[in-house]
């Protein structure tokens, strides 16, 4: 697959590797606990079902692209600020971030 973006060859290789790791990790999390995987991956049950059914061959083909398959999960400015906060104890900032993140709808496909 060619998305037409110009990314250095070394970065393209890194993207492919990360895609593969991401897909393998996603499948592993799903096999451990489906509902907890929705929480960890931030996707809905339809996406979980598709990922669940991917064969090893399909995973390798999917990963082999110069586009990153995982995207930034939070577009919310506040959430990013909370996750990166340095002015409060980690126990407080991470808990605040979790409360906000859990309230966001998961990604649908």
């Amino acid at each position: 697959m060619d998305s037409g973006v110009t990314v250095k060859q070394s970065s393209v290789e890194a993207i492919k590797e990360l895609n593969l790791s991401f897909l393998i990790l996603a499948k592993q999390i799903i096999s451990e606990d489906r509902e907890a995987a929705m929480l960890a991956l931030g996707v809905d049950s339809d996406a979980i079902e598709i990922l669940e059914k991917l064969t090893p061959g399909q995973i390798v083909r999917m990963a082999n692209t110069d586009m990153l398959l995982c995207a930034f999960r939070f577009d919310d400015e506040l959430l990013i600020r909370l996750l990166a906060a340095h002015d409060r104890p980690e126990s407080v900032s991470k808990t605040h971030a979790a409360i906000l993140a859990l309230g966001k709808p998961v990604a649908t496909i």
Partner: protein, 183 residues
């Protein structure tokens, strides 16, 4: 009971055992798992190695409303609502167990002293669904926080956004320091 399918029975035993592992008392087991009381007592005994404690479990609504317990209660409710509404976990016993496991995972990861045990978590769910407590949206961060139903004005600010001085840590040492006890 005599006619209950074996697999269904096994699923209920599993659910009861998971709740026991998480520290649930008889009141929670009896309201969530449809098995005879004697069997639930047996499951409790086998899981915990002792008989279930007797008597009422102390619970104070007020305790859930002040920092830091309010933050922990709100976090638990966020997990619970995620599993119920987004992940579609329909059975109450499973939703409680899953939410509580996730909640424990979070508190352990950040060394937070856990002030909401599973029995309180269950009472919290019932108080929210029964309208005694409310999940109110903070106007600053838009997060949902546990709040007393009587203070239902629309201009609500959560306890994490409200305080101008820095918050005490929620870890064990942090909380002790916050209440002014040196050790």
């Amino acid at each position: 009971m005599a006619t209950m399918p074996i697999i269904q029975q096994a699923a209920r035993v599993n659910a009861a055992q998971e709740l026991c592992r998480l520290g649930a008392r008889m009141a929670v087991l009896e309201s969530l798992v449809d098995l005879p009381r004697e069997r639930l007592i047996g499951i409790y005994r086998e899981t915990n190695g002792r008989s279930p404690p007797r008597g009422q479990y102390p619970f104070s609504v007020q305790a859930l409303l002040s920092y830091p317990v309010n933050v922990q209660a709100s976090l638990f409710m966020a997990f619970y609502r995620f599993y119920r509404e987004q992940a579609g976990v329909n059975e109450e016993a499973r939703a409680l167990a899953k939410a509580y496991r996730s909640y424990i995972g979070h508190t352990e990861q950040y060394g937070i002293e856990n002030r909401v045990d599973i029995n309180r978590a269950w009472t919290l769910i019932r108080f929210v669904s029964g309208g005694v407590l409310d999940l109110a949206e903070c106007r600053a961060c838009r997060g949902k926080f546990v709040r007393d139903r009587f203070h239902s004005d629309s201009r609500f600010t959560c306890c994490l956004c409200d305080r101008t001085p820095q918050h005490g840590d929620m870890t064990k040492s942090g909380v002790v320091l916050e209440v002014g006890n040196p050790h």
